[in-house]
């Protein structure tokens, strides 16, 4: 409007400029967004590649960048930093081999079925990439199972993403289904359940640290009664990770809840009533009517959450500072710590690996799950 108004008083004199603006209005509208994205996404992305291929060193008030090829990546994947990124591995034992065999059968069946039903080269390449990443992650997870082995930041991040998103989705869906029933105070619950989303993640982390304090937190009397007030969740890997997950789930369940509730309320009423009249049970109604209606939305919401979940840093950073050891360190936190120790190349390399893992995961989820749920639309 500003442009149009500025030009209007002297319309006849500047006819050509007005016409030019109108002819190119589409480009003018898109241009600011493109420029901003170039500055804050594409340009940094390219510079980061370069950084990840360099060694950064401070030298007398200035710094030097030495090109060292793929060394930073090599160090993380097979070199001195492997323990940090992938984990400390131990040879697979029988139960792990069995688990891996089951996984291999599933993935080969999945690939084989795809080749058998409809073959195209691009699709196969995509599936091979997805399968490759999944195999690598499963192998790493299994190799860190035996006693004395530790998970690295990659597996910790994947654990947060996988378990966190599933938990948030299930709780959110359950609450939404309950809330969509004909009850009073539905709006009250809706408003209440939305609140955690608005609390800053840093605040959530401190809040849960406060609550989980076994000596002076609100649950201290309970802990004392049960006799584990001396026990600290922060000293053990899995309890610390669980604590991070609880904070994350508390914060993000509302997001799932609010969208799923809106989706459930939007499903076709007539089908629902017809099914009720025919005497269908609650579970039957959910399986045959509600779920097919909300599945595409559910898949999309999970996708959005998946994208954001890979970026987790605030909660582990404040809650446990990545400890005990490396147990709760996420990849973003790993990258941040590398940056703080002046290892800019390593930091960029971790960032890039995170970009690969999250992009492949999200694109795979979109192609195999979101598309599949939309097949009837």
């Amino acid at each position: 409007m500003a442009v149009a108004q500025a030009a209007s008083p002297a319309a006849t004199a500047r006819e050509t400029r007005d016409e030019w603006i109108d002819r190119n209005s589409g480009r003018i509208m898109v241009l600011p967004a493109v420029i901003i994205l170039l500055c804050f996404a594409i340009f940094p992305l390219i510079v980061s590649i370069y950084l990840s291929l360099c060694r950064f060193a401070l030298a007398g008030g200035s710094f030097t960048l030495t090109f060292i090829g793929l060394f930073n990546f090599k160090r993380l994947l097979i070199g001195a930093q492997q323990y940090h990124f992938l984990g400390t591995f131990k040879p697979l034992q029988t139960p792990e081999w069995i688990a891996f065999a089951i996984f291999a059968v599933v993935i080969i069946y999945w690939l084989g079925r795809n080749v058998a039903t409809g073959f195209n080269v691009l699709g196969l390449i995509g599936r091979l990439i997805s399968a490759g990443l999944a195999t690598g992650l499963v192998l790493a997870a299994l190799a860190t199972m035996p006693a004395g082995a530790y998970e690295g930041t990659l597996l910790t991040t994947c654990f947060y993403v996988l378990v966190g998103v599933v938990a948030q989705f299930l709780i959110g869906l359950g609450l939404a289904l309950l809330c969509a029933q004909p009850i009073r105070a539905r709006n009250f619950f809706r408003v209440m359940f939305f609140i955690p989303l608005m609390v800053t993640p840093v605040g959530v982390a401190y809040m849960f640290r406060m609550l989980a304090d076994m000596e002076k937190g609100p649950f201290a009397p309970v802990a004392a009664a049960l006799g584990f007030s001396a026990w600290s969740w922060a000293t053990q890997a899995w309890s610390a990770r669980l604590m991070v997950l609880i904070g994350d789930t508390w914060q993000w369940t509302p997001f799932m809840f609010i969208v799923l509730l809106a989706a459930i309320e939007n499903q076709p009423r007539d089908q629902l009533e017809a099914a009720r009249l025919d005497g269908a049970g609650n579970f039957q109604i959910f399986r045959d009517i509600t779920w097919p209606a909300i599945a595409p939305i559910a898949a999309t919401v999970v996708l959005i959450r998946l994208i954001e979940a890979f970026k987790i840093i605030d909660i582990p950073n404040v809650l446990t500072a990545g400890g005990p050891g490396l147990a709760t360190e996420s990849m973003t936190l790993h990258s941040f710590i590398a940056w703080r120790t002046q290892d800019l190349g390593g930091s960029a390399a971790v960032g890039y690996l995170l970009l690969f893992v999250s992009t492949i995961s999200c694109v795979s989820f979109f192609n195999y799950v979101v598309r599949w749920t939309r097949r009837y639309q």
């Binding site: 209005s25 509208m29 594409i42 340009f43 510079v47 609450l175 002076k216 609010i258």
Partner: protein
């Protein structure tokens, strides 16, 4: 409905509803119990923070006290310290300025772009895109590895790019359309901020803008643009064409149509987008940690910095968390109705 006496057996009356739009007793009680439990799960941590903010050190350290006036005497010490003696207000003001301006900017720029992408057909030559990226990479290598001054390198690259537009780019017909541009814009959200933050940090350092509100506002605008484009495109796609067409026949420019017709029609969706982006910006931690130091520090950074050598001082921290949540809850209360609807439209189309 209630006048007719229910002649069914007790068990039936407990488990089966008498009408389609109501619940029987047992499921109803069960629903309320579960929902009430989750309300507790949501509210108790917040209650604890609120209560702790009125405690003094001794009251926190000597064990849990739950009820003000009953268990312990509330005091305003922590509030007094945090609001008047600490630098809280500076950070608070920073947060408000940064969050509001970057959200509004992202909303304006993003909705302009998504409107144009929905309504106007674009044909961008693929060759031009490839040339542009190749030149960008060349500039970065020239500046970083060979030490060419960045102004000179950029000027040469721009000249080369314009030259290529007039010459060999014309020979190629392959073009990217609206869907590709849209997908590119939205897919930027997948990028973890940690990948981009180092170069952005260096860039602002060169420009002398490190630790300023400008740096944060522009970065947040960039980070949140994909969400705005992704959400608003479906709102714009949903409004009927005839309104806009009749305005255009009357001689209104595309910009006028956008601001006077399209934008008001998608109020609800814009409100939801505004709320979501505002929350994300208000709570953002990582980028603020990199890009600010003291002057432009925002609230999440200030909160995170409370972890002193003596351990976190819960009473101070609680004050900070309370004043951070309060305004967002108030705004969300006003926009409550729009939020779910807006998010739903976005999620349906994806």
């Amino acid at each position: 409905m209630t006048q007719t006496a229910d002649r069914r057996g007790l068990a039936q009356r407990l488990f089966e509803p008498d009408r389609l739009e109501s619940l029987a007793v047992v499921p109803k009680v069960g629903t309320y119990v579960v929902l009430g439990f989750w309300t507790l799960v949501v509210l108790f941590p917040l209650y604890w923070v609120l209560v702790t903010s009125f405690k003094i050190e001794v009251q926190v350290d000597s064990g849990p006290y739950f009820l003000p006036f009953v268990d312990f005497t509330p005091s305003l010490d922590a509030w007094n310290f945090m609001l008047f003696k600490n630098n809280t207000m500076g950070a608070y003001l920073n947060s408000i300025i940064v969050a509001l301006s970057s959200t509004l900017l992202a909303l304006l720029i993003g909705s302009l772009a998504s409107y144009a992408l929905v309504r106007i057909r674009f044909q961008v030559k693929l060759a031009a895109v490839v040339t542009f990226i190749a030149l960008l990479i060349a500039v970065i290598i020239a500046v970083a590895a060979l030490g060419v001054p960045w102004a000179a390198a950029t000027a040469v690259a721009i000249a080369l790019f314009l030259l290529s537009l007039g010459t060999f780019v014309r020979r190629f017909n392959a073009a990217v359309g609206n869907n590709d541009i849209e997908f590119w814009m939205i897919s930027n959200r997948i990028m973890p901020p940690i990948v981009a933050v180092l170069p952005i940090y260096v860039m602002f350092q060169h420009l002398g803008l490190l630790d300023t509100q400008v740096a944060l506002i522009s970065t947040y605008t960039g980070v949140n643009l994909p969400i705005v484009v992704w959400l608003t495109r479906d709102f714009f796609a949903g409004i009927p064409l005839d309104l806009e067409e009749s305005a255009e026949i009357d001689g209104a420019s595309k910009f006028r149509v956008f601001f006077t017709i399209a934008l008001p029609l998608v109020r609800s969706g814009l409100a939801a987008t505004f709320m979501l982006v505002l929350i994300l910006t208000w709570n953002e931690f990582l980028l603020a940690l990199f890009l600010t130091n003291a002057r432009a520090q925002t609230m999440p950074v200030l909160v995170a910095a409370q972890n002193t050598t003596r351990g976190p001082q819960w009473w101070y921290m609680s004050v900070l968390i309370v004043i951070m949540i309060a305004p967002v809850i108030v705004i969300a209360g006003f926009l409550q109705k729009h939020i779910a609807r807006g998010l739903l439209v976005g999620a349906v189309k994806g």
